[in-house]
């Protein structure tokens, strides 16, 4: 069984990204970049499937600047077998990303495509579902447990009401939620080994994908700031303030 995992290069989750002072976009100068945390969970799940003998090959793909090679290498160090880097100098929208991934699916014919449910930069939560539409494959989003059983998979999903279980036919798209697993750290020997693994480079144009944007970012502004309020002395004062000043309890 072949697994394709998509990873995105994003600002590290610990960084509070701010808008540029001219409001033209996010200020990412000198910001530490990393694998999107949800994508890392997707990689880990693929590696566990390989360790269980379910998967035979893991291909990791990323779409981004040349520097996104770092994130592909990280995934290789975690246990992916080979990489594909689709380079582009512009920030692609999720529709274009899904089309690139569709082209990779056509070339590689994976049985499962694992992705993060959401990238923490654009906060879109699109790509897996859109790839599902383009391939016509089933989708299991927000996965917190994945069990492969022959030509189908049973997935427990984190939904608003609790947990939902669905069964999907393979090939299929699965997007990782937080509780799917806890990703490992890459060991030093595996980091060294990853340097020898192959990364094929391509471009959206080579894949025949039109990436012309459909939306224009007119402005990127800071949100209305909340100011820190006051410290209260004790519970009695807190209750008094909530009743008589904020008037939010009676």
């Amino acid at each position: 069984m072949k697994i394709l995992v998509a990873v995105k290069r994003v600002a590290d989750y610990n960084v509070k990204v701010r808008a540029k002072s001219d409001n033209t976009g996010p200020d990412l100068a000198n910001v530490k970049m990393a694998i999107n945390p949800f994508c890392e969970i997707a990689v880990e799940e693929a590696v566990r499937l390989k360790e269980k003998g379910v998967a035979t090959e893991i291909i990791v793909v990323s779409i981004g600047p040349q520097a996104a090679q770092e994130q592909v290498r990280t995934a290789l160090a975690l246990g992916a077998d080979r990489g594909i880097l689709i380079t582009t100098d512009t920030d692609l929208e999720s529709l274009a990303v899904a089309k690139c991934l569709k082209a990779v699916c056509d070339n590689e014919s994976p049985d499962i495509v694992l992705l993060g449910k959401q990238a923490i930069d654009g906060d879109n939560n699109h790509t897996g579902q859109m790839l599902g539409a383009l391939t016509g494959w089933a989708q299991a989003t927000f996965a917190s447990e994945l069990t492969i059983d022959g030509d189908s998979a049973t997935v427990i999903r984190e939904v608003d009401a609790g947990l939902q279980t669905i069964q999907i036919k393979l090939p299929a798209i699965v997007t990782a939620d937080l509780r799917l697993n806890e990703p490992r750290y890459a060991s030093l020997p595996n980091i060294m080994k990853a340097k020898k693994k192959t990364i094929d480079s391509t471009t959206p144009a080579d894949l025949g994908v039109d990436v012309a944007p459909r939306t224009t970012l007119l402005k990127a502004e800071p949100p209305a700031e909340r100011k820190a309020g006051i410290k209260v002395e004790d519970v009695a004062q807190l209750v008094d303030k909530l009743k008589n000043e904020a008037k939010v309890i009676s």
Binding site: A11, Y13, N14, K16, V17, R18, P26, E93, S94, L95, Q118, I120, D123, N124, N125, H126, Q129, M130, G132, A133, L134, A138, Q139, T141, F142, S144, E158, V159, D160, A161, G162, L163, Q164, T165, I166, Q167, I168, K169, D177, L178, R179, R214, T215, T216, L218, K219, A220, E221, P222, P223, R226, A228, I230, K231, V232, D234, L238, A246, V248, I249
Partner: protein
């Protein structure tokens, strides 16, 4: 062009989030229809017809649509899309699951989590965990969007008298199947609908200690939420998580107990009207957004609060 809102419902009742999405639709234009896709869902359709300001309720009643499986519902919505200029859905897990699939079928770029309508093609949405508000303009002929429910006041659930019309074919892809659901039963209000929320974090130390929060919550008629740390640690189930990728809430009063205030948690609650933080670490980032901060041991403060209320 008309606007279509995909309703969140359980085949019998309309979920509150639908009313917020209708409000967003009415900020775009006045000709708003609602889609009820479900199975044996005539009760939900009747309820939708009463929502204020709705023109038409479009009903697709078929077993294939019972559980909102995206593989079946997305082609249905794509089929109906020819009549509409905008398709909106509340940003629930159902909405987020279905709408991007619709977008790709229509070859349009969806827009997630709109928090304001600037014009019929321009919208605001939070990105980077809400640290940036992006204003985006769409050039697609159909705008396909999810709505951040906390950003739009709900329209009235009663007062309308829309026509009800069956529409759309049967799209059963046959590649996915609903198997079951594990839903927590609670008499407390739903997180996304509550006026008051009491949330616990890692500082609660274990699931049993959440009893302290439940007691306070019940005095206040509040819902109970949690930070990611508390859910990851297994103290409470996933549906209680408030944050960037969990539930987005904006109650009148949000009481954060034993929550340090990571960027990801703040993204889910910082639009609350009044924020209270109870934490023993006076440097916890949560205090930077709190209107009232109490530096205290929560195991002492919570029983005192319970007593005082």
């Amino acid at each position: 062009m008309s606007i279509l809102v995909i309703a969140e419902h359980d085949n019998n009742e309309i979920k509150g989030a639908t009313l917020n999405a209708v409000a967003a639709a009415q900020a775009i234009g006045s000709d708003v229809d609602i889609l009820i896709a479900g199975a044996n869902c005539s009760a939900a359709a009747d309820a939708a017809a009463k929502i204020a300001g709705i023109n038409k309720v479009v009903v697709a009643d078929n077993a294939a649509y019972e559980f909102m499986l995206a593989e079946n519902v997305a082609p249905l919505v794509a089929e109906l899309a020819a009549n509409y200029g905008h398709i909106l859905v509340p940003a629930t897990t159902n909405g987020k699951n279905v709408i991007p699939r619709v977008g790709a079928l229509l070859d349009v770029q969806p827009i997630s989590d709109i928090s304001a309508v600037i014009s019929e093609d321009t919208f605001q949405r939070p990105v980077y965990a809400g640290n940036i508000v992006a204003t985006v303009q769409s050039s697609d002929s159909i705008k396909v969007m999810t709505v951040r429910t906390t950003a739009f006041d709900p329209v009235a659930a009663e007062g309308g008298s829309a026509t009800i019309e069956a529409a759309g074919g049967v799209h059963d892809a046959g590649i996915s199947e609903f198997k079951g659901e594990e839903v927590a039963k609670s008499d407390r209000p739903e997180l996304t609908a509550a006026d008051v929320i009491v949330s616990g974090g890692r500082g609660m130390q274990n699931g049993e200690n959440f009893e302290l929060l439940y007691k306070v919550a019940d005095k206040l008629g509040a819902a109970v939420g949690a930070s990611r740390a508390a859910v990851d640690a297994g103290f409470v189930p996933n549906e209680m998580q408030v944050g960037q990728t969990g539930k987005i809430v904006a109650p009148d009063l949000y009481i954060a107990v034993g929550i340090s205030g990571a960027i990801q948690h703040l993204a889910g609650m910082k639009d609350s009207k009044v924020i209270v933080a109870i934490n023993k670490d006076e440097d916890a980032p949560i205090f930077q957004v709190a209107d009232y901060g109490l530096v205290a041991d929560l195991f002492k403060a919570l029983p005192e609060l319970d007593e005082a209320l």
